[in-house]
Symmetry: D4
Subunit: 160 residues, 8 copies
C-alpha cells in the first residue's frame, strides 16, 4: 500500500506535526516520520526528496516554521504531491513568515498548503490523495466525515 512521509525541520516541530501521524494511523495508512532540515542538512533533504518515489512514498508531508523552505525545496526535487504545514515556531512573526514562505511557490512547483499548525489536516489530505485510487480508503473517509458530523450533533445535544 501507499506510504506517506512526514518530515519536519527540527525536533521542536514534533508536537505540532504528530497529529498528521495520528490521523494516518487512524486510517491505517503506513507512514514514516523523520527529521529533515532544509537549512542544516540540505544534502540529506535533496537525497530524501530525490529518492522518495523509489522508496515507495506517495505523498510527502513537510512541516516547517519561520523562513520555511523545506516543503518548497522538497517539491522542487520531487514529482510527488508535497503537503506543507506552516508551523508557528518560536522564531516566527505570528506565523505569517511560515505561511507565506510555504504558500507562495512560483509557477511550476506547487506545495499543497494547509492551515497554520494544521498537521491533522495534512494527514487527512494525504489520505484523500491516496483514496483517489483506493476505494476502501474512500469509504473510511466517508465514515470519518460522518464522525465529524456526529461529534457536532453530540455538541448540539449537550447544549440543548
Amino acid at each position: 500500500m501507499s506510504k506517506i512521509a512526514i518530515i519536519m525541520g527540527s525536533e521542536s516541530d514534533l508536537e505540532v506535526m504528530r497529529p498528521a501521524a495520528e490521523v494516518l494511523k487512524q486510517f491505517g495508512i503506513p507512514y514514516e516520520m523523520t527529521i529533515v532540515s532544509a537549512h542544516r542538512t540540505p544534502d540529506r533533504m535533496a537525497q530524501f526528496a530525490k529518492s522518495a518515489v523509489e522508496k515507495g512514498f506517495s505523498v510527502i508531508i513537510a512541516g516547517a516554521g519561520g523562513a520555511a523552505h523545506l516543503p518548497g525545496m522538497v517539491a522542487s526535487y520531487s514529482t510527488l504531491p508535497v503537503i506543507g504545514v506552516p508551523v508557528k515556531s518560536s522564531n516566527s512573526i505570528d506565523g505569517w513568515d511560515s505561511v507565506l514562505s510555504i504558500l507562495q511557490m512560483p509557477g511550476g512547483v506547487p506545495v499543497a498548503t494547509v492551515a497554520l499548525n494544521g498537521a491533522k489536516n495534512a494527514g487527512i489530505l494525504a489520505a484523500q490523495i491516496i483514496a483517489t485510487s483506493d476505494q476502501t480508503l474512500r469509504k473510511k473517509l466517508t465514515d470519518y466525515k460522518r464522525d465529524l458530523e456526529s461529534q457536532v450533533m453530540d455538541m448540539v445535544s449537550r447544549l440543548a
Copy 2:
C-alpha cells in the same frame, strides 16, 4: 482515466483560473470547467460536491476571491482532495482575504491551498495527485520538471 473538476465562483475568475485547464490539457488529463458559486448557488454547489465522486472526478480545483468560501465548502461536502486557488479579485484586500479564508480551514476538513492566483500550480498539483497511481503521468511530470530546468538553462545562456 481520472477527471478533474475546475470550478470558480464567477466568470470574472476565468482568466485567473484558465492556466489550471491549460496545464491539465498539456498533461493529457481530462477536466471539466464550470461556474459554481458558494454564495449565489449554494444548492448547486452542494449538489456538485456531493455527486463529484460518482461523476468520476478525482480532484476538485476551486478558485475564489474575497471571502472565498467555495473551496472550503466543497471540501465539507466531499471526500475528494480539494485544491483551493485564492483569487485576487477586485473586491479583495490585497489578496489577504482570499488567502486566509481558503487556507485556514478547521481540523477535519482540509483544503490544499496554492499561491495567490496560482491556478497553474493547482493544475500541476492535481496531476501529481493523479500520478500517485499513474506511472505514465509520473513520467510526464518528470519531463515537465526537466523542461522547467531547461527553461532556466536557456535563460542562463541568454544572460551569459
Copy 3:
C-alpha cells in the same frame, strides 16, 4: 414576538458567543442557541438557514473562527439579516482570518460583521434590528444607551 437564532461552529465558541444571548435576555428578546458547523454539518447548516424564516427567526447571529464560512454561507441560503461574529479561535492567525472571511462577502450576499469576539454587540445589533418595528424595544435601547452613559459618569466620579 421576533426570535433570534444564535449559532456557532463548535462548543469551543460558546464562551465567546454567550454575551449575545445575555444581551438578548436583558432586552427580553427570545432566542435559540445551537451548534451548526458549516464544515462538519453542511446539510444541517443548509437546512437550518433555509427554514429559519418559517421557524420564526428574524435575525441570525453566527459566530465562527479561522476560515469562518458559517455566517456567509447562512447568508447565502437565507434572506434574513445575518450578523457575523469573528471568533479569535485557537487556530486563528491573530483573528485576521476570522475577520476577513466573514467581512469580505461578495456583492449580493451581505453579512453584518461586528468586532472580533464582539458577540455582545451582535446581540445589541439584533435588538436594534427588531426595534425597527417595535417601539417598546426601541425604548429599552434608549435606556440601555443611558445606562452606558451612567456607567461612564460613575467612572468619572470615581476618578475625580
Copy 4:
C-alpha cells in the same frame, strides 16, 4: 414605509456609495442621501444622528474612509441599526484603516460592517432589516436571491 439614510463624509465617496442607493431604489425602499462629515461637521453629524428616528429613518448607512469615524459616531448617538461601509479612499492604507476603524467598535455600540467598498451589500442588508417586518419586501429579497442564481446559471451556459 421605512426610510433609509445614506450618509458619507465627502463627495469623493459618492461613486463608491451610490450602489447602496441603486439597490434600495431597485427594492422600492425610500432613502435620502447626503453628506455628513464626522470630522468637519461634527455638530451636523450629532444633530443628524439624534433626530434620525423622529425623521422616520429606520436604518442608517454610513460610508467613510481612512480614520473612518462616521459610522461609529452615528451609532453612538442613535439606537438605529447603523451599517458601516469602509471606503478605500485615496488617503487609506490599502483599506485596512477604513475597515478596522469601522469594525472594531467597543461593547455597547455596534456597527454592522460590510466589505471594503461594499455599498451594494449595505443596501441589501438595509432591505433585509426592513424586511424583518415587511412580508412584501421579504418576497422581493427572495426574488433577488433567485436573480443572483440565474445570473450564475447564465454564466454556466455561456462557459459550456
Copy 5:
C-alpha cells in the same frame, strides 16, 4: 500657566494613560485627568472639546483603543493640539485598529499620534508644545534629555 487635559474612554485605559500624568507632574505642568467616552458619552465629549479652550486647556491628550474615535472626534470639535495615544486594549487586533483609527485622520483635522501605549511620550510632547512659549519649561526639557543620556551612560558603566 497652561493646563493639559488627559482624557480616556474608560477606566480600563487608566493604567496605560497614567504615565502621561506622571510626566506632566515631573515637569510641573498642571493637568486634569478624566473619563470621556466618544461612544458612550458623545455629548459629554462634544461639550468637553468645545469648552476646552475657555476652560484654560492648551493641549488635549486622548487615549483610546480598538475603533479609537476619541482623539479624532475631539480634534474635530477643537482647535487645540490633540495628542492621540493608541491603547492596546483587550478588544484590539494587536493594536493595529487603535493605531490606524487614530493616525489616519483626513486632511484638515490632525491628531498628533504617538506610539502604541505611548502615554509617557504624549506627556513629553505636551510639554514640548507648552515650551514653545515657555523658556523655563524648555530648560527642563533640556535637562530631561540630559537625564535620558545619563541613564544610558549608567547602563554603559554597568555593562562594562
Copy 6:
C-alpha cells in the same frame, strides 16, 4: 513670530510635503523648507536639529519614507516638538515601513505622527501648536474649521 522648519530626506518627497508649506502660508506663519537626509547627511541633520531652537524655530515638520529615521533622529537631538510625516515613497512597503518607523518611538523621545502623506495636517498641527500662545492664530484656526464646515455644506447643497 514663531518660525516652522519643514525638512525632508530628498527632493523626491517635495511634492508630498509641499501642502505643509501651503497651509502655513495660508495661516501667515513663516517657515523654511529644506532637504536634510538622516542617512546621507547625518552631520547636517545633527547640526540642524541642535541649532533649531537658536535659529528661532518653534516646531519641526519632518517627512520621510521607508526606514524613515529623520523625524525620530531630529527629535533625539532637539527639545522642539517634531511632527513626523510618513511618506509613501517608491521604496516603501505600502507605507507600513514609513508609518511604523516614525510612530513607534521609545519612551522619552516623542514624534507627533500624522497620517501617511499627511503633510497638510502637519502644517495645521504646527499652527495649532503655535496658537497655544497666539490668540490671533487661534482665531484663524477657528475660521479654518468654519471653512471646512462650509465646504461640506456646499457639497450637501450640490448633492441635494
Copy 7:
C-alpha cells in the same frame, strides 16, 4: 581580487537586480551574474553554492520573489556571506512573502537581508564586506558616502 556572485531565480528579476552589478562595477569589484533557480534547478543551485568558495567568490548576492528560497538555500550550502534581495515579483503579496521568506532564517544559517528591491544596497553591502580587508576599497566607500552627501547638498541648493 575578491569576486562577487549575483544570482537570481529568473530573467524576470534581472531589471530589479541589475543595480547590484552597476554598483560593483562602479567600485571596480569583479562580479559574475547568472540565473540560478532554487525551485527549477535545485541541483544547479546546490552545485553553485558548494563550489562558490573554490571558484573564488567572496560574497553571494541572491535575489528572489514570492516564496523566496534561493538566498536561504544558498546560505545552507555555503559558508560565504549571502546577501538576500527580496524582489517584489508579480506573484508576490505586496512583497511581504519575499521579505519574510528571506529574512526569517533559523538560528545557524543567516541571510543578510536588504530592503525590498534593494539590489543597489546589496552591491554596496558586498563592497563593505570586501573592504573589511581592502583599504583601497574602504577609501572608495568613504568617497561614495561623500558623493551621497554632495547629492543632497545639490538638492539643498536647488530648493533654496
Copy 8:
C-alpha cells in the same frame, strides 16, 4: 585580528543580543559589547560610528526594537558593514516596527538585516564576513555547519 562591535539601545535588549556575543566567542573572534542609544545618546552614537574603523572594528552588530533607528543611523555614519537585529521589545507591534525600520533602508546606505531576535545569526554573519579574508575562520565555519548537521542527525536517531 578583526574585532566586532555589538551595540544595542538599552540594557533591556541584552538578553536578546547576548547570543551574538556567545557565537563570536565560540569562533574566537574578539568583540566589544556596549549600550549606544540612537535616541537618548545621539552624539555618542555618531562618535561611536565615526570612530569605529580607527578603533579597529570590522563589523558592527546593532540591535534595536520599535522605531529601531540605531542600525540605520550607524550605517549612515560608517562604511563598515552593519548587521541589524530587529528586537521584539515590549513596545513593539508584534515586531513589525522593528523589522521594517531596520530593513527598509534607502539606496546608498545598506543594513544587513537578520531575523527578528536573530542575534545568533548576526554573530555568524559577522564571522562569515571576517572569514572572507581569514582561512582559519572559514574552516571553523565549515566545522560549524557540520555541527549543525550532526545535531539534526542526532535528532533523526532519537526519533527513529
